[in-house]
Symmetry: C2
Subunit: 370 residues, 2 copies
């Protein structure tokens, strides 16, 4: 399902392709986040047109609203949200452990309160896989506990036992009940900031055998150097012929760092959240369009960009829209930002293919950090 097409000569960067039932993902690649079945402010046809190949959605959110019954009747998430490409769904482990106000880990799964209405829910590794099968996700993630930073070794070790047990149950359940043959299932490597626990996690997951491997529990508050250290010790342990997914990352500079370490796919709220806050990504760094500096700047947001926002509107106009509390500019900048990310990933793939990834990284960051 993953094909490795080219390896960089200087770094661990690589170009590949993930085949899914709903189309291919050229890697390295980035997927914007559509947590509740919507990529905030954006309509799916315009996301597709921006060059986006896949999106990430979330079992936790969709299970609470609109719920299993609606998703079943809708015929799955692709139809419900009118997204024709691949969808990865996160299991909800992260959300249960970060959003839910109360939770009890039991032998069989985790009981928690909805962060929306306080109602009590119970997730098991199996129930979450089943729900992702109903969603028709192209890539299903196992239920895991995402440990935040800092966490004691004892806590992480204990948590890893649970995560591994859940991963095994998830895989077994998916093998037996796989709704579509084509649905892939990825394991999630946890282990906090402890190298030996990361190693253990990888070994156990490989033993279970997944279609791809995600690195979870990073970008959760740890120093950036520590994130790279963990990537550096974890990734060489992963099989070369399976896709590697760094969850929840990130900023352009982190994407370069992670690609260099051999990561294939990313998701993050950064482009859409920044767009809604009035910040645009450009080749020359981030522009805070809300600033008064732009009130008479009639250039497009990014002079190098040909997205809908940059083709149609100026910085001055978008700044004006923010100042009168319109919601149109939230969409315009979100759209520009996901376009920027899609283009960035395409350029990264091209650079690796041409054997000039390190030069491209240097060139990009030089202008970006001006």
């Amino acid at each position: 399902m993953f094909t490795l097409l080219k390896k960089d000569k200087d770094t661990r960067a690589r170009v590949g392709r993930i085949k899914t039932a709903q189309g291919e993902i050229d890697t390295p690649n980035f997927g914007p986040v559509g947590t509740g079945g919507a990529i905030k402010t954006l309509a799916t046809p315009e996301v597709k047109d921006a060059g986006v190949q896949f999106i990430l959605s979330n079992a936790y959110h969709l299970c609470l609203r609109p719920g299993k019954d609606v998703m079943k009747k809708a015929g799955g998430l692709h139809k419900f949200m009118n997204w024709p490409g691949p969808i990865i769904t996160d299991s909800g482990g992260y959300q249960v452990f970060s959003l839910a106000p109360l939770r009890k880990i039991k032998e069989n799964g985790v009981e928690f309160q909805s962060h929306i209405d306080g109602s009590i829910h119970f997730f098991t590794p199996e129930s979450i896989i089943e729900f992702q099968q109903i969603l028709g996700s192209d890539i299903i993630m196992v239920l895991d506990e995402c440990v935040h930073y800092p966490a004691s070794r004892d806590y992480v070790e204990q948590s890893l036992k649970l995560t591994t047990d859940w991963a095994r149950r998830s895989k077994n359940f998916n093998d037996q009940r796989r709704a579509k043959k084509e649905q892939q299932i990825f394991g999630i490597v946890q282990g906090g900031t402890y190298s030996d626990l990361r190693r253990k996690a990888v070994e156990q997951l490989i033993d279970i055998g997944f279609d791809g491997y995600a690195i979870g529990g990073l970008s959760v508050g740890e120093p950036r150097d520590l994130m790279y250290e963990i990537l550096n010790v974890t990734i060489p342990l992963l099989p070369e012929d399976k896709a590697r997914y760094l969850m929840g990352v990130g900023m352009p500079e982190d994407i370069f760092g992670a690609v260099e370490n051999g990561i294939d796919i990313f998701d993050c709220v950064v482009p859409t959240r920044n767009g809604r806050n009035g910040t645009a990504f450009t080749g020359e760094g981030r522009l805070v369009i809300r600033n008064a500096d732009y009130s008479k700047d009639f250039k497009p947001v990014d002079t190098e960009c040909n997205c809908f926002c940059c083709k149609n509107y100026t910085r001055a106009y978008i700044r004006h829209l923010f100042s009168i509390d319109e919601i149109l500019p939230l969409r315009l900048l979100s759209l520009h930002n996901i376009h920027f990310y899609a283009k960035l990933m395409e350029n990264i793939r091209k650079a690796i293919s041409k054997g000039r990834f390190s030069e491209f990284k240097k060139e990009f960051l030089k202008t970006y950090n001006l």
Copy 2:
């Protein structure tokens, strides 16, 4: 600038065309409102694609934000907001008399406080025309006092003197300082609910001589019957070879009533405001998409519609988006609604052209009011 193409045999309904520097307006027609230089939630290319021929914007709002200086540097409103078609701008009379917390009518104009930051501003008939010239509006409206309902005869009579005086000064100023030869200027008929004052208003405005005539001071709280009574006595007094504009109207049923009385153009916030509130206009009446009834309804909003919203999304999905507080559905329903209005006006024009306006009205309202 206005060409009368066809008169209905049974009613005062008529088909015509207004030529402006930025294109033609086929009448009867409806323009959505872009008060502050933005049609709320919508991007101008999609408004154009929905079949909209003109929009209404507002001198009061644009004068406060972004202000004269930015509008000048932007090269006018068409460029600023990237709207390629005709723009009508309201003078701000309505806003000064409804939004501004404090105002003093002086001989020369009106002093008022901004409803945004309390700053003091002074509008004269001339300064407002000049500002609309800077905006590059295709149709400029004179400064008037829009009297709300109910108002005493004495008050309305006094106010009408001021409005007529301002209308004369506006016309004189525009004749001398017209920035673009093609900018048209419309007078606004006031006179409250007093037939003789309406008559007086019309006679005085015709005496000054405008490119078109708006009926102001209706749909301001008076009973609907009274609105039609005033239209019925006012419109026959207006010259047949000039366009007639009913400001701030309205609902589909009112548009039929006013077209029947000989009105050519309309503007109203109804389609966009309703869209933002979760209500869709359809041939079968208004649908409150937020309702739980629609949670498993996988039909498009309007089965007869081929707009972006109806082509891509279902009622259940849009209802879900409202329930999770996404902003995308505000756009989707606004877009659907302006598409519905554009189509409605097109069908009205066709019906008049074919000599079957009254039948079309009956057919439409029968299904619409089911």
